[in-house]
Symmetry: C2
Subunit: 301 residues, 2 copies
């Protein structure tokens, strides 16, 4: 099945899940059992991160669509961290998860070509990456071409979940539209060659759960593009806020969560109070993911 959107839909239906778990490792929050015994350096930090991620993947892979490691948290540990980023994705792919590398790259065409080869090359285990559209069509072309050839996907930043997204993305243009709307219209156009049998395009959009009105507007502007939706849970997005993200077919959106699942609050509280509760971490992770899945599936009629 050589189309990203089609592959995604198969996983969603098989698992009855619309969750992508963000793998954003933070050494200070990772349970003690994964932490290095020796003094902390980039190599031991990276080994700790890989152990933690593999444990998360083992716990969750049957009940989630995929994982989204955020490269910043790996680049922080230099080449060793970058290795952990890829080791994590290789392991996730072995478990048949959809792998979305959250790299948000965007550059002039010749450089974008190098980025595209880095993340969407033929032997890549990555299903999709996030990209930044600020540099325009020619800066996304190398990604779109390689993704189309290899059946991979892209999620273009359209309306991000942070409060500061208003500064530039919400600018009103001379025709009365918002800046993010013109980006959205271009994504629809550029995504047509990546359309699968399902009718959905492999060119998706990042749209924050934190702006429900904009989300609703974008759903109607982009009916056949998948949304990758951050901001649910820890960033404040509620279940009702993301209702409009789904099409009547129950498809069209992937809800991401990192902190609220991989460092579940009930575990963190326990960890602070009583160290034996660290043993509860696997259970709390499974419970957090299960609860989120049920919450989201109540929106699917």
């Amino acid at each position: 099945m050589n189309n990203f959107a089609d592959r995604l839909i198969k996983q969603i239906k098989q698992k009855n899940s619309r969750i992508i778990v963000g793998l954003d490792p933070r050494l200070d929050l990772i349970p003690a059992q994964f932490r290095p015994a020796q003094a902390r350096n980039d190599k031991s930090a990276a080994a700790c991160i890989t152990r933690f991620n593999k444990a998360l993947i083992d716990l969750l892979h049957n009940n989630i669509v995929g994982v989204k490691p955020q490269s910043a948290f790996y680049e922080k540990y230099g080449p060793w961290g970058f290795k952990a980023f890829f080791d994590t994705m290789i392991y996730a792919k072995k478990k048949n998860l959809i792998v979305i590398a959250d790299v948000k790259r965007g550059d002039v065409p010749s450089t974008a070509q190098a980025y595209a080869e880095a993340y969407l090359g033929k032997s890549s285990i990555i299903d999709a990456i996030t990209v930044n559209p600020l540099l325009g069509r020619d800066s996304l072309d190398p990604f779109i071409k390689l993704a189309a050839r290899n059946g991979q996907g892209l999620f273009v930043l359209v309306k991000t979940s942070n409060p500061g997204s208003k500064d530039f993305q919400d600018q009103v243009l001379s025709d009365g539209q918002r800046f993010y709307e013109t980006v959205a219209q271009q994504v629809v156009e550029w995504g047509k060659p990546l359309t699968g049998r399902s009718g959905y395009s492999g060119l998706g959009a990042v749209v924050g759960a934190t702006f429900p009105d904009e989300l609703k507007k974008l759903r109607s502007l982009m009916p056949h593009n998948f949304f990758l939706i951050p901001g649910y849970g820890a960033q404040g997005g509620q279940t009702e806020d993301i209702k409009s993200a789904f099409n009547p077919d129950g498809l069209g959106a992937l809800i991401t969560a990192a902190r609220s699942i991989i460092y579940p609050a009930s575990f963190l509280n326990g960890q602070r109070d009583e160290s034996p509760k660290i043993k509860n971490w696997p259970l709390k992770v499974e419970q957090a993911a299960g609860q989120m899945n049920r919450e989201i599936n109540t929106l699917i009629t």
Copy 2:
């Protein structure tokens, strides 16, 4: 001297140069003497890149302000490539060059914090990085704070050199301004706390040499911000096009060039025709940089 703009100006005056050399390694263009003897893999590719970059730095360090490795060309070779990226920057710093990591990162605040720590951390050998402003003020704050604390700089994408920059950066807003102008105004504002004794801010802007009219307009909008100017040489920007980038004090702009210096055309032609001419590469590189320096310095009155 704990301000990036001040440090930059000292180097510019000392060397009478306004050139930043882009280190964008392409294995197919690197002269044969640096290429690996064994079969090509990420490790040997990275070793070849590091050798090539060190040779370039040895040849050029007395006559250029600094270097700008573009991370895409290193990420392409995985963790080994990422190591070559840092090894290159460590070597450049040893030679007292200004080191600008061209990473164009930009993300939601918690992730931007991780990126800032990755590239602008206390022990960093990086003087400045490029950042993408699309996610707004809060997405740049972690970079600005760390840069201010450590005397580092940032170059915010304002008007990029590629033709596609017109798609979104040139959008006309409801007040009649272009999108890139509103970004420019914000950069001026946000850069004030990074102002050095020189009166210049450590918060700079990326502005392409390929759009002379926009460059002129931006110079007057942002008199105290340094411009990092790609697009000269291989991308088509001419000497006259960048005249307006400089303030009357001969400061305010850094002109970058990669392909036209590190793979000089006269060398490439020779390489294709006659292999012994590979020996000419060091001379051709020095000549290309020297010529560019003279061309640019004719603009300084």
